[in-house]
Structures are given as structure tokens and as C-alpha cells.
Symmetry: C2
Subunit: 294 residues, 2 copies
């Protein structure tokens, strides 16, 4: 990573901390569960994509804070719920006990629910920047669509239905594009929308870029699940295999998975041509997505 | 109930059916779980409040369909999650097996998550009627606020933290206002916002009305938990007592609970004075809220 990325990571940590100050969250336990799950960890890839895309298109950072926080809140809520005993039953997340282990199951369910509501709350309340009501509605539309049955929740449903199944590579890609890819693509589009992009070649390029790195990210996740170091990835390795879940490597083999991830990265980079030199920070992110070790 | 209410109930059933057509929800199980949980039951009080308030202020029904559906989707998601084994562990809802009983726990978690996303999705996409982008943002703001830590999720957190505790009547009221009252008040305000209400005496009157009937509704719910007929209320009676949860009757006694509910109903009705004769349908609803047997 580079200093620009580190600055984004430090910035989003502060923004999320503010979003989660919640002086009256009902119970202290709910507030602490939300803060524990969101703060103090995570790669923050989605906020980094919002900031990088928005800055590439000329938006000041303070206009990007709220969409960056909103997409991370949705991402974290999905992790908290996916980790529950009835779902993936994971004990470790970002190197620490998962929310339901550190607190309890009921709190973890509620933490996820409240984080989802908070994501839409901060977007709807955002009065920073010149974003018109229309642009703010569009951001809510993007986030709701990427989170629901068409995106993340639908992908998770495919994931649940696929345990023990033999899927085609295309079916695994469809699952990955929805479960992970939709929210990553959404991050790119949130940054673009906050920067006031108009429909056209640049927006189409960013859509394609987001879709490709979203899928590449999840394929790399599958690869790390096979060969990653638990001390580095911060969660149990081999978990997908142990759960008998179809993954990209288990479907096409590790080598083919690696080359698919790299091909998607190159396609994502090629897609950015209409943006010219401004796309440089996004190119770096595409390479990070497939070369990361956590 | 009267023919107007029955017409609203039939109408919202169709609107919800359309919202849940979801040709590509990921898995058939997720789609069926969402449809099972939302369709074919329920009093539909919240949509009825959206329609009644909106019509009282002159809005055509087709401008009220989407906010009416959105608030019901949030309400149903909260029921699905509240019924989970880690929460209230309920087997029966609206006279049928709860979602996690009819499907499974993982599906029920996902059904709730996807319904919440869908609620914001339909509001953000709503292109019906003349509601400006500003009014639509305001509706999203109202729904997110009523759903999150300041409202429903925060109230549920107090509920979880209160098991086995002795609360004051004020503390029980705070819990009820958030857990149930916030979304009921939100329903009134969604109808008013969709009808294009401006800040002023009428909006203030509706806020007060919504807050009072919201609390009255939950007190009546507590009363029915003590003395209701399971065959009529469609869920297990005595459940709160069995779980050692503080309720309004357990805190102040059944008679005092009844008279508080009636006093709130009268206060709600009195609050509507600025609306004059147009408030008649809302008056009927206030009386229904405290006289209902299910």
C-alpha cells in the first residue's frame, strides 16, 4: 500500500467513529457491538474505492466521506451476519473474536440490522457537498440495489444453497459477482456519483472496472482461503473447503483461478482507458486486489 | 374494521406482491422465504396509517403505495429477526410457523436482511407521483431513523437488556416508544410527506398523534399478551411473562395499563384538532388501536 491509501484508511476510521458515536443507541451493548464490529480493523477496500474514484473525478474528500462510510457499514453488517452460527459459524474475524463470540448472538443479529439502517440513515442525512437530492437518491438506490436480492443478499442465498453442490465456473462467478462484486462495484459508482458524473463513456468504464475488480477480489479471496496464512488473513483458512462450499479454485483449479483473477485485473485496467491519466490510482487498486495476501 | 380499511388491506397486499415478484432473488428459497413472511397475513396497521394520513391530506392512493409497502417491509423484517431462536425464539406468527421454522435459521436471517434492503430500494426507486427528490429523501430519512438505534433496533436492544429487570413505567414507555412506536409514528409521517405536507401545525399534530398511538398500540399488545386468545392473536399468549420481560401491565398492573392506553388514545385524537374534519379516518384508527383483540 502507499501513503495515499493509508491516508484514506486513517480518514475513514475517523468518519466511521463519528457515525458510530450514537449517544443514545438504546443499550450500551448494542452501541459497543456496533463499534467493536466496525472500528479497528479491516482493509477498508470499499471506502478506498469511493475515495479513489471520487478524487480521480475531482471531488474533494469531504464530499466522499458519507458514501465511503455507508458502504463500509453495509459490508460490516454482512460480515457480522455471515459469521453467525446459523450461517458460516465463524469464531475469528480480522484476527479477533467475531461479534457473536465477543457479545452474543442476539446482539450480533441486532448489530447487523442497526448497521444496515445506519448506512441508509447517514446517506439520507448527508448534507455535505453540493450533491443534489437527485444524486443522493441515486446513491441510496445504488447501495440498496447492491445490498439486496439482486446483489449481496442474493449472492449469499446462492452461497447457502450451493453447499455440497458442484457448480459450473459460470455459476460460481454469478454467485461471486453478487455476493461480493456488487458492493465493490457500488463503491466505485458511489464515488463517481458523489463527484457528479454524468451518464456516458466514463461512467460505463467505471461500471466495467468495478464489476471486474469485484469478481477478481472474490476469486483472490477463494485463493487465500486455500493457501493464505491465517495469521495474515485474520480468519480461519480452509474454511470454504471444510464447509464443502464450491469456490473458484475448487471448480476450475488453483492455477486457472489465478489466471482468471489476473485476466480480470487486466480487463479492469483496460476498461479505464476513457479516463486517461486520472485513472492511475484505480489501476494501482486493481493490481492490489489480485496481489494482496490478506 | 370498515370497508375503507379493508380496501387498504387488499390494496397493500397487491403492492407487496408486486414488490416481492423478484424474478432473480438469488435462490428460490430466499424469494419464497421473503414472500412467505410478508404476504398472506398481518393487520397491515402501518400501511393503513400511510394510506389514511395521505388520503386525509389529499394524496391519491397511488402516490402512497410505495411508502406503505416500505414501512411494512421493515416491520416484517423485524418480526422475522425477533422470532429467531437467539432472540424471542417464537414458533408461531400470524397463526403460522415463523420463518425460521418454515424454512431455516440462515434463510430467516437473510430474509430479514433482504427485506430491509428492499424497503429502501423501493423508496429510492419510486417514480410514482409528484414527490420531489427532496420529499423522497425525507421519506428515506424518516424510515432509516425509525428503524435504527434511535428507534426500532434501539428499542429491541433495550428489550434484550431488560429481561429479568425491574423497570420504571417511564423506562418501559421509552422501550415501547422506540421498539414499536417509532415505526408507527413513521407511518403517519410517511403518508404526510408523500402528500407534500409543509412544516407547521398540521405536521406537528400528526407527529404527536403518531407518537401517542404508537405507544398505545404496544401497551395494548402487552395487554393482549396477558389476556388475549392465542387463536385470535395468532401467536403464543403469555410469552412476555414466560420470558420474564418487563411489560406495561407487569410494571403498573393491568387496570393502569388499560387506562394509560385509553388516555393515549384520547390524547392522540385531541392532537388532531388542527386537521379538522379531515382527521376522521385517523380518529377511527386511534380507537381501533386500543380496542383491538388481535
Amino acid at each position: 500500500m502507499n501513503p495515499r491509501i493509508e491516508a484514506y484508511q486513517a480518514r475513514i476510521e475517523q468518519v466511521l467513529d463519528r457515525c458510530l458515536s450514537l449517544p443514545d443507541a438504546g443499550s450500551a451493548r448494542l452501541r459497543e457491538g456496533m463499534r467493536y464490529s466496525v472500528l479497528g480493523g479491516g482493509k477498508r477496500l470499499r471506502p478506498i474505492l469511493v475515495y479513489s474514484t471520487g478524487e480521480a473525478l475531482g471531488a474533494p474528500l469531504e464530499h466522499l466521506d458519507v458514501p465511503a462510510a455507508a458502504v463500509e457499514l453495509v459490508h460490516v453488517y454482512s460480515l457480522v451476519h455471515d459469521d453467525l452460527p446459523a450461517m458460516d459459524d465463524d469464531d475469528l474475524r480480522r484476527g479477533r473474536p467475531t461479534c457473536h463470540r465477543a457479545f452474543d448472538e442476539a446482539t450480533a443479529i441486532l448489530v447487523g440490522d442497526a448497521l444496515q439502517a445506519l448506512a441508509f440513515d447517514v446517506l439520507a442525512h448527508d448534507a455535505s457537498g453540493p450533491a443534489s437530492a437527485t444524486a443522493r437518491l441515486e446513491m441510496i438506490r445504488l447501495l440498496a440495489h447492491a445490498s439486496g436480492t439482486s446483489g449481496m443478499a442474493g449472492g449469499q442465498a446462492i452461497d447457502l444453497a450451493s453447499v455440497g453442490q458442484k457448480l459450473t465456473a459460470e455459476a460460481v462467478e454469478n454467485m461471486h459477482r453478487r455476493k461480493t462484486g456488487a458492493l465493490i462495484q457500488c463503491s466505485v459508482l458511489l464515488g463517481a456519483t458523489a463527484a457528479g458524473i454524468a451518464p456516458g463513456a466514463e461512467l460505463d468504464a467505471l461500471k466495467r472496472f468495478g464489476a471486474d475488480i469485484g469478481l477478481a477480489f472474490q476469486i483472490q479471496d477463494d485463493i487465500l482461503d486455500v493457501e493464505g496464512d491465517p495469521a495474515i488473513i485474520g480468519k480461519t483458512a480452509g474454511a470454504d473447503t471444510a464447509r464443502n462450499k464450491p469456490t473458484y479454485p475448487s471448480t476450475v483449479g488453483l492455477e486457472a483461478a489465478r489466471s482468471r483473477a489476473h485476466a480480470l485485473c487486466e480487463a479492469a485496467i483496460a476498461a479505464l482507458a476513457p479516463l486517461g491519466a486520472r485513472a492511475q490510482p484505480l489501476l494501482e487498486l486493481a493490481r492490489y486486489v489480485v496481489n494482496r495476501s490478506r
